[in-house]
């Protein structure tokens, strides 16, 4: 066997194993129901802000506690807790993408991505993380 063929085979094997080892990292957009089934596992949930329920954020009490309610694609509404500051213009968001896991009686999220209707021609997105 020629050395170049060996190298090529090793290269392909390494690439495949790298990619396969990473597949587990790709989360699927999911719903609260799935996240509740597997508590403590990280999921990404896309939903809309439930504006009928109150949002909790009081920087003076705790600047790292922001709680709100989100309705997921299947229409289930759950309380979400974000350990951080409230993103600007959160009320105006059209949809929110939450990353985190279900712990206890609330979805604990580590990252919020909000999509706001913008006065610019195109949508702008912001990330609030940590």
């Amino acid at each position: 066997m020629k050395k170049s063929s060996v190298i090529a085979l090793v290269l392909i094997a390494v690439c495949l194993s790298v990619i396969l080892s990473l597949v587990g990292d790709f989360s699927q957009d999911t719903t609260f129901a799935t996240a509740m089934d597997k508590p403590n596992k990280s999921f990404q949930i896309v939903g809309t802000l439930d504006t009928l329920q109150p949002m909790e954020y009081d920087a003076i009490k705790d600047p790292n506690h922001f709680a709100f309610f989100v309705k997921d694609k299947e229409g289930m509404t759950k309380r979400v807790v974000f350990k951080g500051t409230k993103p600007m213009d959160f009320e105006r968001s059209e949809s929110v993408t939450l990353t985190g896991s279900y712990v206890g009686d609330a979805f604990q999220c580590t990252k919020i991505l909000t999509k706001c209707p913008s006065k610019y021609k195109n949508d702008k997105e912001f990330v609030a993380s940590k």
Partner: protein
């Protein structure tokens, strides 16, 4: 049907549009002429076509420059009848940011790219000699396709490209405002520039990055030319020079992007594995790989085909990255505020990619048989073998990054619903750390091997000293920085090895010839960069919650830990000191320099035993409360030689929303009387007839007086307040003055007109609880090593380039 509109200046747009068409047609003529020249059998025909091609290309470049000047004129003179000026600029924009308007929009950035292609093309045309025709045919062809993105014309009912000179009233047809012939009188200002781009890095980073993009075209064009003419004899030197040029410029552009992210974005770092960052990194990796395999070919005749494939891949990836970042396909996955320009650009760029692929692979498979490969196998202990392995490692890195970044593309192609990794730092680092480890080792050792054959014993002997020094330095750093994690230890040791081995190589092997230092210096810089990345990220810690040694991103962690980590914001009331790590923090107040809102945060450090003040500094993190984009927070940095203390605002108080129920206190004073407030006192100095308060704008017939009050605190006199009292049209008016640092409001209630010059002063100081800021502070240790490494790597690449240029002559 078409009413005449008042106040429109259509001429610059018409000139600009004409030049766009001229540039398009001249690039078409240049492409055809150069192709004929390259294909012509007779020398005279070759020369005639070549001359026509060159003239057309010069016309093309000149008209692209003309387009740029026309568009700049429109932006500079604020002609908001043009859509581009209206959507990307405004009258308040400072001059230095007018250029940034070019790269906010799609048309402007393509224009910039075309300019760089044109400039590099002209240099190639003049210098390439026998390579001019085939290389420039490829360059002109690319200009033709790329230039079509800004023509904005309809062909067979399909709109090709979008013109930067489109009028606002055409872009927004049907809006009622355009029924009025004098509509321009109502359009007072443009939409303005994205505040994130209003930063000095954003003035220089995009042009450099685009120049790097443009530089990848030339090795690609030489690859096409070489395959076309089946000739690789004196092809290596120009290709290598342009490849090195691309490595230096594109690398610099990417690093500047990191510097911008670090200094003006608040995601707390210089690199986030964001798709837009990845999209420019991947072509750089393949270009670096191509330059290395070309070096192998130069010395040993191996790996020419690999080199050609790398250069084709690099240019393909540049266009692919444009497709990813400009067409909006990334959608939810990127923080970069690039815009989706719609389906037509998508089709345009996909078409471009298909054309590149078809032409390149057709030429490659048709003509690569003509490439003679050496019959014998490469020996294992040679420089070329290990350089080749290094290039393949770079390729693996590129494949992994591309695979994950392209998730939205896979979703679209195969109808999947994959979401990108929830924790990109962990996801990419997991693989890329090991790639960096392997690269660092190869960078250190490979140059000690010789081309073709190496005496392995000698190499081993050379390595003993290097390894001893590496071990000592690694132990020192490891203990000092508490590096106690397996991946981190690997990175540290190998990075130190790369640094030491490259210095050692310079000392041992070639002290005399400075021009030959390029590769070693670049590799030395790369080693330093790795070390800087490790030290700044491994011990990066958030001090606003007083937690030390939190590892971010280098290892997996449970969600519980992540939640704890997220409690990283600290609340500061105005003038109420709070402890944070070793520092005492005080929020002193805010000030507004439109459009920026600065928050004044004082850091002091005291000796724990003696309580003596060791240091004191003030940071001014800024926030823009942008009506369109919400809170835009930009950090401020305290730079030490060994760390940065990085501070940014995460939540601000909207003062207008806090009800102010505080009553004014009234006091009658004569000159040199004192008024006390919470943090100090004011001394009334008397009445001024010449009012100097900048907020007072005099009008004719005003009778205006002001009172000067000097403010004192523990440090002595610090400020002056000057409330104004004026009579305008029989009405009494008061202009309040404010000491923002103390939230102190002062106004004149009454001027008593008595012998003692007494006045009634009213003042109030609402409670500090009504004024606060929430902020976060992060320490980046040894970030300077990363910066220095970047500069050294760029300098090394440039040095290597100069060496090749000298050889070319």
């Amino acid at each position: 049907m078409n009413p005449t509109f008042q106040g429109e200046h259509l001429l610059p747009g018409q000139i600009g549009h004409f030049l766009v068409l001229l540039s398009f047609i001249s690039s078409l003529v240049a492409t055809i002429a150069y192709i004929f020249s390259a294909q012509a059998k007779l020398l005279t025909n070759q020369e005639d076509w070549r001359k026509l091609g060159r003239v057309s290309f010069f016309v093309h470049f000149a008209s692209i420059l003309g387009v740029f000047v026309s568009l700049f004129y429109i932006i500079f003179t604020h002609r908001f009848e043009y859509h581009y000026a209206w959507s990307h600029s405004s009258t308040v924009l400072p001059f230095k940011y007018l250029l940034s308007c070019f790269w906010e929009g799609q048309e402007g950035s393509f224009l910039l790219w075309l300019i760089w292609h044109g400039l590099l093309g002209c240099i190639v045309a003049v210098n390439a000699k026998k390579w001019e025709a085939p290389v420039m045919a490829a360059v002109s062809g690319v200009q033709l396709i790329l230039g079509a993105t800004i023509i904005g014309l309809y062909f067979f009912g399909e709109k090709i490209g979008s013109s930067p000179f489109a009028l606002l009233r055409h872009q927004m047809q049907g809006a009622p405002i355009f029924q009025q012939p004098n509509y321009l009188e109502f359009i007072k200002d443009g939409n303005g520039l994205n505040p994130l781009l209003q930063n000095y890095w954003m003035v220089i980073h995009p042009p450099i990055l685009f120049m790097g993009f443009a530089a990848t075209l030339i090795p690609f064009a030489y690859t096409i030319a070489g395959l076309w003419k089946k000739d690789f004899t004196d092809w290596v030197k120009p290709t290598l020079s342009w490849g090195l040029f691309g490595v230096a410029v594109l690398g610099l552009g990417i690093c500047m992007g990191g510097a911008w992210a670090y200094e003006s974005l608040s995601f707390g770092g210089y690199w986030a594995w964001d798709p837009v960052e990845n999209a420019s990194l991947v072509p750089w990796l393949t270009l670096v790989a191509g330059v290395h395999t070309l070096n192998i070919y130069k010395h040993s005749k191996f790996s020419l085909k690999t080199t050609l494939l790398f250069f084709i891949l690099t240019f393909f990836l540049i266009i692919y990255s444009t497709y990813l970042t400009r067409t909006g396909i990334l959608g939810d996955t990127s923080v970069h505020a690039f815009t989706g320009e719609g389906a037509s650009l998508s089709i345009h760029l996909i078409g471009f990619l298909i054309i590149i692929a078809i032409i390149s692979f057709w030429l490659f498979f048709k003509n690569s048989k003509a490439i003679a490969s050496p019959q014998k196998e490469e020996a294992t202990w040679t420089r070329e073998f290990w350089m080749y392995i290094g290039s393949l490692v770079l390729l693996i890195s590129a494949i992994q990054i591309t695979f994950t970044t392209s998730i939205p593309v896979w979703n679209k192609m195969f109808g999947l619903k994959l979401a990108p990794p929830a924790d990109p730092m962990y996801h990419y680092n997991r693989i890329q750390i090991w790639i960096a480890v392997v690269l660092a080792v190869l960078i250190g050792i490979t140059q000690f091997f010789k081309y073709k054959n190496t005496e392995i014993k000698k190499v081993v002997k050379d390595q003993i000293a290097t390894l001893i020094i590496t071990t000592i330095i690694s132990l020192i750093i490891g203990f000092h920085q508490h590096i106690n994690q397996i991946q981190a230890i690997f990175i540290m040791v190998t990075a130190v090895y790369a640094v030491v081995a490259n210095i050692g190589y310079l000392i041992k092997i070639k002290v005399k010839e400075v021009t030959k230092w390029g590769a070693s210096i670049a590799h030395f810089g790369f080693g330093l960069m790795l070390l800087g990345i490790l030290l700044s990220s491994f011990n990066k810690h958030v001090i606003s919650k007083n937690k030390l040694n939190i590892d971010l991103g280098l290892q997996g962690k449970t969600d519980q830990e992540t939640h704890q980590e997220n409690q990283q914001n600290i609340l500061l009331f105005r003038n109420t000191p709070a402890e944070m790590s070793d520092y005492t923090l005080t929020y002193l107040g805010d000030s507004v320099v439109a459009p920026n809102h600065f928050y004044k945060i004082q850091y002091t450090k005291f000796d724990k035993q003696t309580n003596k003040q060791l240091e004191k500094f003030i940071l001014y993190p800024l926030a823009q409360i942008n009506p369109k984009m919400g809170l835009i927070s930009s950090p401020d940095n305290k730079k030490y030689w060994d760390r940065d203390v990085f501070t940014y605002v995460t939540k601000t108080l909207d003062k207008s929303s806090v009800p102010d129920t505080m009553q004014y206190t009234k006091q009658t004073v004569k000159p040199n009387d004192t008024l006390y407030f919470k943090n100090g006192y004011l001394i009334y100095r008397g009445i001024n007839k010449n009012v100097s308060n900048p907020n007072y704008i005099p009008e004719q017939g005003d009778i205006a007086l002001s009172t000067q009050l000097d403010e004192y605190n523990l440090d002595g006199k610090t400020n002056t307040v000057e409330p104004v009292y004026f009579i305008r049209g029989n009405m009494q008016n008061r202009l309040e003055d404010t000491l923002h640092d103390y939230n102190l409001y002062v106004r004149i209630a009454k001027i008593n007109m008595d012998k003692e010059n007494t006045v009634d002063i009213e003042f109030k100081q609402p409670a500090a609880e009504n004024d606060y800021v929430v902020m976060k502070a992060i320490v980046f240790p040894h970030i300077n090593i990363l910066g220095i490494g970047t500069v050294i790597m760029t300098l090394g690449s440039i040095l290597a380039l100069f060496r090749r240029l000298k050889q070319t002559k």
